[in-house]
Symmetry: C2
Subunit: 276 residues, 2 copies
C-alpha cells in the first residue's frame, strides 16, 4: 500500500488506529481453545469486529514464533485472511524488528514481503537499526513496501543506548538513526517507531522528520497518552499510526470479547476523529 | 550446554569452528532439490560430514523464515536431528538477532529455547542490543542457555552507528554495549558477536571483556583472517567460536558437496588446532 492510499484510508475511517495482534493462547477466551487454530480464530474475530475502525493490524512475530511451525501457520492464515477478505482496506505491519548483513536481510525481506517465497505479504516490517545502512536497504528494494525503523522505543531499556549523545554531532543515538536513515529511503517507504511513553520527544523528532509517518506503540497498557501523541506528532498527512494491543484485544476474556474489543477500538477511534 | 562442557568440546575436537547453516535452495546441489525437504537433507549431510570438526552449528533464521511455514519445518527438523543424534557433542546457535520489549522478548526466548512451546531447543541465540537491558534479560532467564549479543558486526554498515563515540563516557557505542551488558549476565550465559573483518579491534575488546566467549563471523567469504582473530581474540579458555558459512557449505555444488565441505572444515580445524 502506498502513502496516498494510506492517507485515504485514514481520512475515510477517521482513524489512525493500529491494532497489535499479540495473540497469546493464555489470554484468549477459553472457549476458543478447542478450535483447530485458536490463534487464527481469535485474530479473525478481532479483525472482523474492528476492520472499519483500524487502519492497520500489527502482529508481533514473537507471539507466533514461540509456537514454532504451528505459530507460523497461524500467522500465515491471519495475513492471508486480511489480504483476501479486506484487500486495500487496511495496512499490515510485521512487527519483527529484524536486521542482519545485506544478503541475510534480503532473506528476511522475502519472509515478510514475498508471498511466492513465504506465503506472507505484509505492507511493512519493523527493522532494528544497529547494523546500519546495508542491513536496512534490502527491505527497501521491495516496491510498494515499507520499512518502519526503530528510533525511540517505549521500554525502559530505551535509555540504555538510544539516549547516548554522540561526541561528533551532539545528537543522541536515536536522532542519529533518524538523520542518517533519511538518505536510505523516502517518506513514501520509511516510517519510524517512536514510543508514546516519550511523547514530549515527538516535538523534537518532528523537527528532524516533519513528513514521515511514525508508528507509536505504548498508548494504553504501557502508559502513553493519545492526546499528547496527537499534539506533538500529527502532521499535514496525519503522519501517525498509534498502536494499541492488549487494551483492545484482551478487553474481555469472555464470549463477549469481540464486542468489548470493538468498544475499546471505538473509544480510541472517536478520540482520533476528534483530533484529525 | 554450559561453559565447561563447551570448553571440553573445544579441547576434545581441537577446534573452535562454528559452521553457519545459511542454507539456500538456489545454491545447494541440484540433485537434492527432488527431496521432500531439500534444506533439511542438505543440512543433515553437512552435519554428518563435519560433526567431528565443528563445535557449533549456527542456522541463520532468515534463510528458513523466507520459506515461511516450510522453512520453519526445515529448521525444526535440523535442530531436532542435531539434538537427537549428537546430544552433547555440539553447541547450537539460533542466529536470529532478535530483541523487543520485555514481554515480547520472552516469547522470542520461548521460540528458540523451549521445545515444549516451539519444538526448538537451541543452546544460544543472537540478540540485538538497541532496545537495552529489558529487551535482553528475558533470554537470560532460561537456565543453561546463552545470549550472544551483537557488539561489533562484520558488515560495512557497522560504521554507521556502532562506531559513534559517546559524549558522556568517550566510549564507542559497541563498547558501551559491552560495558553496560556486563552486569546483565555472566561469562557463563553471555557471549558477544565481533566481526572478523575488524580483527584489530579484538585486542581492545579483550581489554574490556577478557573472559567472555566471542562469536566471530566474517572469516573467509567476508574477508577476515583466522590468524589475526586467534592472535587478538584467544583467551585462557579459547574464548572464540569462529564461524564460516558459505566457504564450507557451498565448497562444491556437485554430488561431492559433503566431501568438499569436510575438506574445507578440516583446513580450518587444522589451523585452529595449531593455534590452540
Amino acid at each position: 500500500m502506498n502513502k496516498s492510499d494510506l492517507i485515504s484510508l485514514i481520512r475515510r475511517k477517521h482513524s489512525f488506529l493500529c491494532i497489535g495482534l499479540d495473540t497469546d493462547p493464555a489470554k484468549i477466551p477459553s472457549h476458543l481453545l478447542d478450535a483447530e487454530d485458536p490463534i487464527f480464530e481469535f485474530n479473525k474475530v478481532i479483525i472482523d469486529a474492528t476492520i472499519d475502525l483500524a487502519v492497520a493490524y500489527k502482529p508481533n512475530l514473537a507471539f507466533y514464533e514461540c509456537h514454532g511451525v504451528r505459530g507460523w501457520q497461524s500467522l500465515t492464515k491471519t495475513i492471508q485472511y486480511i489480504n483476501n477478505t479486506y484487500e486495500g482496506e487496511v495496512f499490515t505491519i510485521a512487527d519483527a524488528k529484524r536486521g542482519d548483513i545485506g544478503n541475510t536481510s534480503k532473506q528476511y525481506a522475502k519472509a515478510v514481503f514475498d508471498p511466492n517465497s513465504s506465503g506472507l505479504d505484509f505492507d511493512a516490517v519493523t527493522v532494528a537499526p544497529y547494523m546500519g545502512e546495508d542491513s536496512v536497504k534490502p527491505f527497501l528494494e521491495f516496491d510498494g513496501k515499507w520499512v518502519i525503523l526503530l528510533a525511540l522505543t517505549s521500554n525502559k531499556g530505551s535509555d540504555d543506548f538510544q539516549m547516548m549523545t554522540s561526541n561528533e554531532t551532539n545528537f543522541r543515538f536515536f536522532e542519529e538513526v533518524l538523520i542518517k536513515s533519511l538518505s536510505w529511503g523516502t517518506e513514501s517507504n520509511m516510517m519510524y517507531v517512536v514510543g508514546a511513553t516519550k511523547a514530549e520527544k515527538l516535538q523534537e523528532i518532528r523537527q528532524l522528520i516533519p513528513d514521515h509517518f511514525l508508528l507509536v506503540p505504548g498508548v494504553g497498557a504501557q502508559g502513553g497518552s493519545l492526546e499528547e501523541v496527537a499534539q506533538y506528532g500529527l502532521n499535514k498527512d496525519c503522519g501517525l499510526l498509534v498502536n494499541s494491543s492488549r487494551g483492545i484485544i484482551y478487553a474481555s476474556s469472555g464470549k463477549d470479547f469481540a464486542k468489548k474489543a470493538r468498544e475499546e477500538a471505538v473509544t480510541l477511534q472517536k478520540q482520533m476523529a476528534a483530533v484529525l
